[in-house]
């Protein structure tokens, strides 16, 4: 499906979505955290979208906000889509886990938790993946400081 067709279809499911294709090769959807899981479920199940392949899940620290970016592809229809979700709560960021929709998300979400401190509710095994259990802070956040291990300019 083309970007426009996807936008029309997905826009009809939920009201609060923001669409943009500027500054990106994909169609981007910004979704409020409370609708994330429902939207993802729908994107995967709906016969016209069928986004069955989550090929990238990245955490991003946008400065003010923390966010997660989901790159989706349909293996049957071969269209791609980017879903973004943001939270302003830097102390206790939390999103719904999508690991029940795509199994690959389990590890990717653990990685995001490890480096950004974003918690995923309903995740089967949310704990540090790379770092040790007693590591303080979340290294990939922009405000992370470590005088010993980080070499800056």
């Amino acid at each position: 499906m083309t970007h426009e067709a996807l936008q029309d279809l997905i826009g009809s499911w939920f009201q609060e979505l923001e669409f943009t294709s500027e500054e990106s090769q994909f169609l981007n959807i910004k979704v409020p955290p409370e609708n994330l899981h429902a939207l993802m479920q729908q994107l995967r199940e709906h016969p016209d979208t069928r986004f069955d392949y989550l090929f990238c899940l990245s955490g991003v620290d946008w400065g003010e906000e923390l966010g997660v970016v989901y790159h989706l592809e349909s293996t049957t229809k071969r269209h791609m889509l980017v879903v973004k979700v943001y939270t302003a709560d830097r102390e206790n960021p939390e999103f719904d886990s999508v690991s029940d929709i795509w199994a690959t998300a389990e590890f990717h979400e653990r990685e995001v938790f490890d480096f950004f401190g974003i918690r995923f509710t309903n995740h089967p095994n949310l704990k540090r993946l790379f770092l040790t259990e007693d590591w303080e802070g979340f290294p990939l956040r922009k405000d992370y400081e470590d005088d010993v291990n980080m070499i800056l300019h």
Binding site: S24, Y53, F55, S58, H71, A103, F130, T132, P139, L140
Partner: protein, 373 residues
């Protein structure tokens, strides 16, 4: 790790062993926490991070030319393809017109890298199932590719040959001849691989029907590369999102439907044949021209988000760049194939024996630095 928690969940017959971080079958510093009942695997839990260097964080302070060098150290067996991924992403963002010569050379070297990687995998695969001789056969042929790379790129493993805008230097005058020599040589050696291992009864007993991954699970777990294709899931980036010169060569995507260890093995063997054919199609037709287009010394990507997929020897590598218009990326994420492939290990290894786990892991072809970026 919370060993106490693990112990308290045990039934009386189950016990827990550490496989790794130093273990011959984990090929690097991967630690697997195995819960075992006798010989039967009940649970596999990978514990990662033993060589995590936080390349993604380092990228945020480096220029784009510098980032290319870091990617070598991820999947060091597909070093050149990793370089290519970052270069392509940057070139697409800058909308540079890349000379045809560069595209063709990148494709040839990429395929040679793939063959070299699969040679090493084949040797190690044999070793993991107990046939030690395969190791030396695989390395013999890989050595020829490394020599070609050394002559042209100056390095054998971490090539650093690509730069944003093209290639660092033009190919060595001997390159074409030596590649042709290698292709002729390897065509006689690949059947030898089959004779030594593929047809062996014990090898087939060890691999057929072991570690079966269904197509649905493969997609759900984000499996890519030979692992996904062995489950009948057409996921070759070279076919679906062609880059460099892949749109002008004909090759067959190695696909099987069994999804077991043996299928993954056969897919890789077939991929070596396909790579040879790609190299053959291109080696005589390297266009004349520049090997590089000029870029600014300081590359600044326009504000925006860029995503580039390439097919490494292990599967789909994604480079996700968020730029704010400065000389450094704001955020750079590598979607590494090994990471997703490792995540399905627990799914396919449970219920098998320890020997099955080793054989299955060998065909996932994990490179640990690729997982611990």
């Amino acid at each position: 790790m919370e060993t106490e928690v693990l112990y308290s969940n045990f039934k009386s017959e189950e016990y827990f062993i550490n496989m790794g971080p130093q273990h011959p079958a984990t090929h690097g510093v991967l630690r697997l926490l195995l819960t075992i009942d006798g010989e039967i695997i009940k649970k596999v839990e990978p514990d990662l991070g033993y060589i995590h260097r936080s390349i993604e964080k380092m990228c945020e302070r480096d220029s784009y030319q510098q980032i290319v060098h870091l990617t070598d150290r991820m999947d060091y067996l597909s070093a050149n393809i990793n370089n290519e991924a970052v270069c392509l992403a940057v070139e697409n963002a800058l909308q540079l017109e890349i000379p045809e010569r560069v595209k063709v050379i990148r494709t040839i070297i990429g395929e040679l890298t793939r063959i070299a990687s699969h040679c090493l995998w084949w040797g190690v695969m044999g070793m993991d199932v107990g046939a030690l001789t395969t190791y030396f056969y695989g390395f013999r042929d890989r050595e020829m590719i490394n020599d070609i790379m050394e002559e042209t790129c100056g390095a054998r493993l971490t090539m650093n040959y690509n730069v944003p805008g093209g290639l660092m230097l033009d190919i060595h005058p001997n390159f074409v001849n030596r590649v042709k020599e290698f292709v002729a040589h390897f065509k006689t050696k690949l059947p030898e691989y089959d004779r030594l291992l593929t047809g062996n009864v014990i090898f087939q007993k060890r691999t057929v029907g072991v570690g079966v991954l269904s197509r649905e699970d493969a997609i759900s777990f984000g499996a890519s590369g030979p692992v996904g294709r062995a489950s009948g899931y057409s996921c070759d980036v070279r076919k679906h999102h062609p880059y460099s010169a892949y749109d002008r060569v004909t090759f067959e995507e190695a696909l099987r439907t069994e999804g077991d260890t043996y299928a993954r093995y056969l897919v890789r063997i077939q991929e070596m044949w396909e790579s040879l054919s790609i190299v053959e199609q291109l080696i005589d037709n390297i266009p004349e021209g520049e090997h590089r287009v000029a870029t600014n010394a300081v590359i600044k990507l326009p504000k925006g988000e860029y995503y580039q997929k390439v097919e490494t020897a292990r599967g789909e590598l994604g480079v996700y760049i968020i730029s704010t218009g400065t000389k450094n990326p704001y955020r750079l994420k590598f979607r590494s194939p090994g990471f997703s492939n490792l995540s399905l290990l627990n799914h396919i290894a449970v219920g098998g024996k320890i020997g099955d786990l080793v054989a299955t892991m060998a065909t996932l072809d994990l490179v640990i630095p690729d997982i611990d970026r």
